[in-house]
Amino acid sequence: MAEAVLTAERVAKAFGAHKVLSDVRFRIGADEIVGLLGPNGSGKSTLLNIVSGFSRPDAGEILFLGKSVAGMPSHKIARQGLVRTFQLPSMPHRMSVREVLRAGSRDGAGLLQAFTGKGSDDAEAEELIEQFALAPLAHQPASSLSGGQKKLLSIAVALRSRPKLLCLDEPTAGVHPQLRGRMVELLKAFNKRGVAMLVVEHDMHFIRELCGRCIVLDRGEIIADCAPRELTENERVVEAYLGKSVAKQKVSA
């Protein structure tokens, strides 16, 4: 495994008396795509929020590229190269898809660069538009896209910012099945180009195709850290997903 891009140590978070995360520790290698799984309410979203700076951990340490980012404001974390997408991406009314994509890169987005910068050609954005099959929609207001298209756009725009670690929150939800295979290819390609990924997802096919490794959360704790195909054999995981009775029945069957 390559050196770690993200390391979480003893991360804990509670809302009032309700413990959402306790003693969460994991690491993600710079060349990995890691799935983050778990039933509803297991703390996946909270963990994603903490890692990306949208929520502060109560305790624990998070190192990104060897630097502590715990409790840092989200935009600073993003500037270091840790970028996330949202489960229900909401997109601007008065910006076209192309504009949103171009806004993904902060290169030349400084106030003074508006005067010193050259023209606004953005080959990379155009490439992403093609790759994500957004070309026919490029002039449309971003808010007019369907839920799945918005999702694609949000992944594309996150990739446009050239992240080192990309956290995807349910990337396939609402995305047309025909595009899912394409998405797996794309994400893998970007992974080859050096983007590590942490993927929260329910669609297990997607996970199996995309991820080399899975972390499973249940009740705020990590109950498994293994390859996706090992999941069906893991009694704790089956129990967490299907319930105790089912687990017994299924695993023994």
Binding site: S52, F54, P73, S74, H75, K76, A78, R79, V83, R84, T85, F86, P89, S90, M91, P92, H93, R94, M95, S96, R98, E99, V100, R102, A103, G104, S105, R106, D107, G108, A109, G110, L111, Q113, A114, F115, G117, G119, S120, D121, D122, A125, E126, A138, H139, P141, S154, V157, A158, S161
Partner: protein, 297 residues
């Protein structure tokens, strides 16, 4: 008539500057600033205070810009953790406090009597040339401001502003520092407003706190909304249209023989009613924002 038109054109340019400035904040940054007139006031008082201390106009514009940037920074600081509506009220309150200060601190601002006798910018020139030169200066300023705004908003910086306006969370997740963006936008806008104030002071030759009442802010708001928020040309057109309408209300009154109360009501209705009508039926204004814009690619 010719000189009157020059005068109206000069005022339209100055309002155009203010309108561009507010448009940058409202139309692009999504910043609901109800204290716009005080940024203008920074420019007028910069000119006036420099004049009363026998400093030249260069010191005046510098002073005006410094004041404006400081006030903008204060606005931005207030905006850091306020919702848009609260922030609007807060800027209104700050503007009022500053106006009250200007009204009372006579040692600096001349108090309610203001500072008069500020020299005309081209006062030495022969008759029709002076106003024409002023108009020229105003036009140059307006064009420069338009170019500046256009450059800003069609660049990547403009994309960042728009993204902040509509999806602040998305912008933050991509690494944009929203607080810094807001502060910068307010400061650029403040400089434009101060420039307008500076020229206004040297054109009207008098500066006083009565020029800074909040109804002036709402007039500028009407210009931006009616013209088309998010479109620089719209903001300028809105300003020119409103200024000309205002200037020609007396002619309409002369022609129709209306009583005096109706003149006031007419102005209020122009601003308030126009604003409301556009908000209700044509929110995008006369010249709407261009989505996808002119940018190539």
């Amino acid at each position: 008539m010719f000189e009157f038109l020059i005068h109206v054109a000069i005022m339209a340019c100055l309002y155009g500057l203010l309108s561009l400035s507010l448009n940058l904040q409202v139309g692009f940054g999504g910043l609901v600033n109800f204290g716009q007139v005080i940024l203008f006031g920074c420019g007028t008082y910069g000119a006036a205070i420099a004049f009363s201390h026998q400093l030249g106009p260069v010191a005046g514009i510098a002073l005006g810009i410094v004041f404006a940037v400081v006030v903008a920074a204060a606005f931005a600081r207030l905006g850091r953790n306020l919702g848009a509506d609260y922030w609007g009220i807060a800027t209104l309150a700050v503007a009022e406090v500053l106006r009250i200060l200007a009204n009372n601190e006579a040692w600096l601002t001349g108090g309610a009597q203001g500072i008069s006798g500020i020299p005309l910018l081209f006062g030495d020139m022969p008759r029709p040339m002076g106003p024409l030169m002023t108009l020229g200066l105003c036009l140059v300023l307006l064009l420069a401001a338009w170019w500046l705004c256009q450059r800003l908003t069609t660049s990547r910086y403009g994309l960042a502003l728009k993204l902040m306006r509509e999806e602040p969370q998305l912008a933050a997740s991509l690494g944009y520092d929203l607080a810094a963006l807001k502060t910068q936008t307010l400061m650029v806008a403040a400089v434009l407003a101060a420039a307008s104030g500076f020229v206004f002071a040297h054109y009207i030759t008098f500066v006083g706190p009565d020029q800074l009442v909040s109804s002036e802010t709402f007039l500028i708001w009407a210009m931006v909304i009616i013209g088309g928020s998010g479109n620089h040309l719209g903001a300028i057109v809105g300003a020119i249209l409103m200024q000309f309408l205002f200037a020609f209300v007396p002619f309409v009154k002369d022609a129709l023989g209306l009583p005096s109360e109706y003149v006031a009501a007419m102005r209020l209705t122009l601003v308030g009613g126009g604003l409301l009508a556009f908000l209700m039926w044509r929110t995008q204004g006369l010249i709407p924002e261009r989505i996808g814009g002119k940018q190539n690619g």
